[in-house]
Symmetry: D2
Subunit: 137 residues, 4 copies
């Protein structure tokens, strides 16, 4: 698990006074990038060196409590599952006071430049899995 801190800005909120529901996926992305960086890789280098991409094929979000303007949030990102051609990340969004606000998952396919599914490189699998407790499948 890798934790990343984020501060909610006005631009993240909507007129209900809480973070707009789509923006949690932005927070998840920030968490995912920092997860990959913490494992020793920059996602932009991954794209450049492997010529592979990890587009999202599925996203699921559960909104338990709303985040609000100026909240300091912690995105806890884990690798939940890794398969031959896909990887699943899990997210927990936690407020400064420890309150769990939102949970979610994103599934990513591994594709090449032409959009064809490709096996996740062994090196990447090792690197992402290091220190992670994957779910039994």
């Amino acid at each position: 698990m890798v934790a990343t801190e984020l501060r909610v800005i006005y631009g993240d909120t909507d007129q209900m006074g809480v973070v707009y529901y789509a923006n949690y996926l932005r927070f998840f992305e920030a968490g995912r990038t920092e997860f990959i960086r913490a494992k020793g890789l920059r996602y932009r280098d991954f794209e450049a060196s492997y010529q592979l991409w990890l587009p999202v094929t599925e996203a699921n979000v559960r909104y338990l409590q709303p985040a609000r303007y100026d909240d300091l949030l912690r995105v806890e990102t884990s690798l939940a599952e890794i398969r031959r051609v896909s990887a699943t990340f899990a997210y927990r969004l936690v407020r400064e006071d420890g309150q769990l606000l939102v949970t979610g998952r994103t599934v990513h396919a591994c594709i090449d430049l032409k959009g064809k599914l490709r096996r996740l490189p062994e090196a990447l699998v090792s690197l992402l899995s290091a220190g992670e407790t994957l779910e039994a499948t």
Copy 2:
């Protein structure tokens, strides 16, 4: 089912050259608002007259094919399920040429000003369900 048209702008895309994954939830919201309007209600009037809100408690998205800059998209919004204190909308995002790009669902709780769960008003249930084929539950 209610269909709404949308044009993808530069601001919806990311550097992969496709619509950023969070922005499909914006498209769903546009579809949802037009769904409610087509049933004879403006969502802002609903909030104002009933003093109730329908915040999202869950969102699920399946990304089949990416939408791209300047694509003309159709969001097909349906009411999938309606319960005592929640409603589920289903979305199909279809490109001009008929290609299905993204599907999704959002679950909405009915809450009052204090954030307490409240029964969906009968009038609202009738109105939203009119002409819709709900899923067997």
Copy 3:
């Protein structure tokens, strides 16, 4: 001048109950694209056929009155000025009832793939200027 209609969604607003100040630049972009389309060109074709880009080098916005959720807005886009290597668009954002809400301008440089300034193609100048009343310079 070319007019484009837009509907404000929840995702455009912030907790002040009005459209977030950055999002007017999204509305301007929608207006600009429709302006170019109305003149007979799709911006994506321009990029592809000329191998030129028109990135924004300057943006100015005046916020007179706020736009709100569900407002139906009209973006009136004009070509204000055209020079050897740049073009300036002007925008007026008008609410359904005729109230002027926001005005703005964006200046765009013409660059090639390598980021070098390039003369705006004559054909493009003619096309964009057709029917427009440019400002005296």
Copy 4:
């Protein structure tokens, strides 16, 4: 001057491979909030305790060089000018290697709940101006 660090995410970019032009206003907002916090106030407390708001009435942005995915940026926020009923902030967006990317300004009116212009509270003026070099007017 108060400096705030930001990391560019995928969601900030567009298909030109650079940060979308509207999103720099999000970065400015983050800088502005941290400026106010560094001066000893949280903007949300300001709104709550004074019952005043500082909506943007004007924004100007100059795009010198694009920011890109994963760039670590520093927003340098200063108070440029303060008047009876308005305040102007100036921003410089600088990349990790020292390259200046974007500059901008936002003008904010001071209004009450009813949207009426109100004099900026003396206490706020003192607090925001502390340590700042205002422009001669």
